[in-house]
Symmetry: C2
Subunit: 100 residues, 2 copies
């Protein structure tokens, strides 16, 4: 992937009820990877959970957001798992990397 492309920064805090959360997160990541325009995904959680997914276009992001299975997961997320979350839709303008 070469800029410009898009990133969705999803940051979240979990509630106390996380039953079923990990299974759903794994399932949704596997689904996301099958979507048209998907470029990559990275996740880590300590206090805050950060998941960044990368996409070719804004349309690819919209289509994934509206995906029926993903909508179901979003609903459960709000009802059960998340204390709060924030979604930022970003255009990746420039990038560089270092490898040892």
């Amino acid at each position: 992937m070469k800029p410009p492309y898009y990133a969705v920064i999803f940051t979240s805090f979990l509630s106390e009820n996380t039953k079923g959360y990990n299974e759903m997160a794994i399932k949704m990541e596997a689904f996301a990877k099958q979507q048209p325009g998907f470029l990559g995904i990275e996740s880590a959680r300590e206090e805050v959970g950060i998941t960044v997914s990368y996409w070719k276009t804004l349309d690819a992001i919209k289509i994934w957001k509206a995906n029926v299975d993903h909508q179901g997961a979003q609903k459960l997320g709000k009802e059960k798992w998340y204390q709060s979350y924030k979604v930022r839709i970003c255009k990746v303008e420039r990038e560089y990397e270092y490898k040892n």
Copy 2:
């Protein structure tokens, strides 16, 4: 902060030599918070480390990258602590959030 603003997505994998890394990370986060144009920072590490910092302008990001103390930390990071890292400079175009 209200879009548009900027995000720097810094993803990294550590080497086996992490002596001094945590202290430096804490110090650099404290310094970043004092920079003009700084809006916020979020970090989590599991396999991959993800740090996202938020900035008012691209210039604020450039000035922080060129900061002498930060340059010193970047040098040590390459020499010692990081196996690899990637930096993505992004424009946050849209955001929404949920609070339970």
